[in-house]
């Protein structure tokens, strides 16, 4: 019997194997970069390992994963994980201890939840991880996923998996009724399995770049099939203010339908198909046929990209939208609408089974798990209210925000009539101005008087006609706005019987003080904490700088479907007794500057 001659390739395969075998006795020299990479990997894992959370049912059965992001116990996980645990989960850390926890905030569409772990000793800090910048993550980067797959670790020590980033800026459509939409997410080959849900994805510096949440499964069953997805941390950062404030937050729509010009076109172009009546997009002048160039600064050339960039913003955020109309480029600042139609609980059994599934919590026991439970201490920190995941935390954040505002001056002792005078620039004219606001917590008929060119006055609680409230003409309701401002400073939260809540974080766009045209809308962006109030028929949004807690401005809505009166406050100086007030008040309405009031003197009336 003859043997076939081995093929050359097989011989080639054999030779190094033999040589390698011969070299086994010799000390193996490993290249420095390999050793460095290994050291870096070990260091990264060691650093973040203690902050990885096993999110469990009350009582301790495994469910999902999470990660601590602050020393006071705030941790991120998936919405679909807390959906299974209820608002009072138990959380295991790598130290083997099971902690009580409470739900703080929700982003159901984004599949994110914020929970807070309670320390065993008051004030004892938790280990936590730093947030990275997921926009810097690139295809091919190494990544580490951690969590508690298959509820393997009975002592909560996290499982670590290692792999490369397969894709960035991925779009995975929602499941069920619009929930669990993964926009701009990170695709990984790093193995994630049932139980990894809500757990962290790290870069090799040990920074948090995402929250693992779902995968693509098909024929191979609901275990890792080489394709997992993590919610990008930069998207979560946009919602973090909302989450911390206990808000049941919502994603956004533009208020216009945008689609590709033609599926058959050689190069995709995104065009505005229809603009929704009454939407802010319509009021900002977005038109059918406009070609969408950039959304919030990002170039948009495909449906997926558009959904990606739209999906990372909470509703009500104002973002710059650049369009091409004929041969002109136009940039608009559009206030995004809510995604309310999709904000419905998924009905059990409704709809076809989804193709792309969240990594489900492992089903180990068939025993029904009580939704309520947890410790009495955690239960005290859970207060339900419509529109909020946990109202307790909204009050907490709101009161902290108000306390910071108060540092600029306590105006309660000067709650009487205020007046201010100075020079106003309205349109092209300069003129002297004077305004006077009276009021108080229980004043049933306060009066605002404003003298610009003519004398005007408004009784905000009596003159309820929208046209009167919007006076002066083209200001959007400056007198009403001044009344609300006076009330916020002098009366505080008790003065807003309709609502006084923390509204999460939003960008704010104060225009240059010298009245020059801004370089770009994006250059104006200042990130703020928002306070939302309602008093009488008027709703207001107050923008407080995240940097120095200054009230940078506010918007007063005479009616929900109208543009607000936008008031920008600057040049804070002492207005007497150390109380700081803005000496430059810019009023804008409908993308136009109504006027600027330069205050020379405030008179604050005693109570």
């Amino acid at each position: 019997m003859t043997r076939p001659v081995p093929r050359l390739s097989h011989l080639a395969a054999l030779v190094p194997a033999l040589l390698a075998a011969a070299a086994v006795a010799a000390p193996v020299e490993v290249e420095q970069p390999v050793l460095d990479a290994q050291r870096q990997r070990i260091a990264a894992i060691k650093k973040v390992h203690p902050a990885v959370v096993a999110v469990c049912q009350p009582g301790g059965q495994g469910s999902g994963s999470g990660v601590l992001i602050s020393p006071d116990g705030y941790a991120l996980t998936n919405f679909h994980v807390v959906q299974a645990t209820g608002p009072l989960p138990s959380c295991g850390l790598a130290d083997g201890v099971l902690y009580d926890a409470v739900l703080v905030g929700l982003d159901k569409v984004g599949d994110v939840a914020l929970i807070k772990l309670l320390p065993k000793e008051a004030g004892k800090p938790f280990p936590f991880v730093a947030l990275g910048d997921s926009d810097k993550v690139r295809i091919g980067d190494w990544s580490l996923a951690m969590g508690n797959p298959f509820s393997l670790a009975m002592d909560f020590t996290p499982t670590v998996t290692y792999g490369v980033v397969s894709g960035t800026n991925r779009y995975q459509p929602p499941e069920g009724k619009g929930l669990l939409e993964y926009t701009d997410c990170i695709q990984i080959e790093t193995s994630i399995n049932p139980g990894n849900s809500g757990g962290p994805l790290f870069n090799m510096a040990g920074e948090l770049i995402g929250i693992n949440g779902r995968g693509s499964f098909e024929k191979r069953g609901r275990v890792n099939s080489g394709v997992g997805y993590a919610i990008s941390i930069n998207q979560i950062k946009n919602f973090l203010g909302h989450l911390r404030a206990g808000i049941d937050s919502d994603h956004a729509t533009l208020g216009a339908a945008v689609g590709t010009l033609s599926d058959d076109a050689p190069v995709a172009q995104m065009v505005v198909r229809t603009v929704l009546d009454g939407s802010d997009a319509e009021r900002r002048g977005l038109q059918e046929g406009d070609q969408l160039l950039r959304f919030a600064g990002r170039v948009v050339t495909s449906t997926n990209q558009y959904k990606n960039v739209l999906g990372i913003y909470p509703k009500d955020w104002r973002v710059p939208v650049a369009v091409r109309r004929k041969n002109e480029q136009v940039e608009l600042l559009v206030r995004l609408m809510g995604n309310m139609a999709t904000e419905k609980e998924p009905q059990p059994g409704a709809g076809p089974p989804p193709k792309k599934d969240p990594v489900p919590p492992p089903k180990k026991e068939v025993v029904p798990v009580p939704k309520k439970g947890g410790s009495p201490e955690a239960a005290k920190m859970y207060v339900t209210r419509k529109g909020y995941a946990n109202w307790y935390f909204n009050e907490l954040e709101r009161d902290a925000l108000l306390a910071n505002l108060k540092k600029h001056g306590d105006f309660a002792p000067v709650a009487g009539t205020w007046s201010a005078e100075g020079e106003a620039e309205v349109g092209l004219r300069k003129t002297a101005f004077r305004f006077e606001v009276s009021g108080g917590k229980d004043d049933a008929d306060p009066v605002v008087k404003l003298k610009l060119n003519v004398d005007q006055s408004l009784r905000p609680l009596v003159d309820t006609d929208a046209r009167l409230q919007a006076e002066p003409v083209n200001s959007g309701g400056l007198m009403l706005a001044l009344y609300q401002y006076h009330r916020l400073l002098t009366v505080g939260p008790k003065g807003f019987e309709g609502l006084c809540a923390h509204g999460g974080h939003e960008p704010f766009y104060p225009h240059p003080a010298d009245g020059s045209a801004p370089k770009s809308l994006a250059s104006l962006r200042t990130d703020c904490a928002v306070l939302k109030t309602k008093h009488g028929s008027a709703e207001c949004k107050w923008y407080v700088s995240l940097k120095d807690h200054t009230l940078l401005g506010f918007e007063t809505f005479v009616s929900k479907d109208e543009d607000p009166c936008e008031v920008y406050l600057a040049d804070y100086r002492d207005a007497g007794d150390g109380r700081k007030l803005p000496h430059r008040i810019e009023v804008r309405h409908k993308d136009k500057r109504y006027g600027v009031l330069t205050v020379s003197k405030y008179t604050l009336g005693k109570k």
């Binding site: 390739s9 990479a37 295809i139 050339t301």
Partner: protein, 388 residues
């Protein structure tokens, strides 16, 4: 060999094969390779047949190498380039033995396509490189699960070569048309839409074409493989040749088909695939043991003359004078047709459904084919064959 030389060699080997990539950024490799790949969209979209796949650009003019799947059975084949361009494609060559096809992309306006120097893989160069070794790191770039559209980059995965081997011996286990060498990889690369994607080495050089989704029917596990750029398959087939007396004789021939040749000729539009009709897929097919009536006509009806005891046919319950009418639903016109069908479609161990006319009624029999006896007895009119 001195210790020093051994160390040097070991270091050199580590330099080439060890995971130095732990420090390598794969990003640039992935970005460059992504520009040489396309997303394909074609026929399918029903009963788990995907209407999406991946393709590898192999010429400046827009030739694409991909898997010869049902995806290509359309006149509306579409490719999305890395920059979002949408182009139509036309199949110019297929070779089922290599499970490969070459598609030519064209511009809508009919103008010439020029992808530039960095816009395609030089296939001839790739085929000259030695194959990757077991244990080498590899990267896969595919449009797995149709995640990417238009200008979105393909999905990157990384793994090692687990084996460089033939799956041929396992053909009863894998439903698989290709019998040559494959790279078996440990990354879960072969998902819906990934077929036709690129298997690369760490430098981004083309090693192979990511294959289909195949499942081991015995263990219910999935296999991740790629067909190497150097793939070679020996195809045996029968050809009718006239002998010196002018009589037709069936002669067994072997032709070697190779990926480099297929690609080169395919791009020139000159490739002629091996005729599959006469191909011997699995030797003689399964063995049934039936003895038919003398095969004297071109189309002798498949009447059973005898059923040797103990033969597969006997076990299935065949009887003398049965007329074989259908096999697995296919009408059987003649003894020749029956044998041709078995050769083409069956192998030992397989069960086929046979309908026989017995008297006035059709009977259905389940025939489990066996292996041919060392010297298969040709059907003889007489004398009756001895029982084995």
């Amino acid at each position: 060999m001195t210790t020093r030389t051994a160390t040097l060699i070991a270091a050199a080997l580590l330099g080439s094969a060890a995971p130095a990539g732990a420090a390598d950024p794969f990003h640039e490799v992935a970005e460059k390779a992504n520009q040489k790949l396309v997303k394909l969209f074609g026929a399918g979209g029903f009963s788990r047949l995907n209407n999406f796949g991946t393709g590898i650009l192999i010429s400046r003019e827009g030739h694409v190498l991909t898997v010869a799947s049902q995806l290509l059975d359309t006149s509306e084949l579409v490719a999305h380039l890395y920059d979002g361009q949408r182009l139509k494609g036309q199949v110019v060559a297929t070779e089922p033995e290599l499970d490969a096809a070459v598609v030519k992309l064209k511009k809508a306006d009919g103008g010439a396509l020029d992808l530039g120097d960095d816009g395609f893989f030089n296939f001839a160069e790739a085929a000259k490189r030695p194959p990757a070794q077991t244990g080498d790191w590899v990267l896969a770039l595919t449009n797995t699960f149709e995640i990417a559209l238009r200008d979105e980059p393909l999905s990157l995965q990384r793994g090692v070569v687990m084996a460089y081997t033939k799956l041929a011996g396992r053909r009863g286990v894998f439903d698989f048309p290709y019998t040559g060498d494959v790279y078996v990889v440990d990354a879960i690369t072969n998902n819906p839409g990934a077929a036709g994607g690129a298997l690369l080495n760490r430098k981004g050089e083309l090693l192979g074409v990511v294959g289909r989704e195949i499942k081991n029917t015995l263990s219910d596990t999935w296999m991740n493989y790629a067909i190497p750029v150097t793939a070679k398959v020996d195809v045996k087939f029968r050809e009718a040749v006239k002998d010196k007396d002018g009589k037709e004789q069936q002669v067994e021939k072997t032709v070697t088909v190779s990926m480099p040749e297929f690609v080169t000729l395919g791009m020139q539009g000159k490739y002629k695939p091996v005729i599959r009709g006469d191909k011997i897929l699995s030797g003689e097919g399964g063995y049934h043991g039936l003895v038919f009536v003398p095969n004297i006509l071109e189309r002798t009806p498949a009447y059973v003359e005898d059923v040797p005891p103990g033969s597969p046919a006997a076990k299935a319950g065949f009887r003398q004078d049965d007329l074989v009418s259908f096999v697995d639903g296919e009408p059987v016109a003649s003894i020749n047709a029956f044998h041709a069908w078995l050769k083409k479609n069956t192998r030992p161990g397989q069960t086929v459904r046979v309908e026989v006319r017995r008297g006035e009624a059709l009977q259905t029999l389940e025939l489990t084919l066996g292996t041919h006896p060392p010297k298969p007895a040709p059907p003889q009119p007489d004398p009756k064959p001895k029982s084995p």
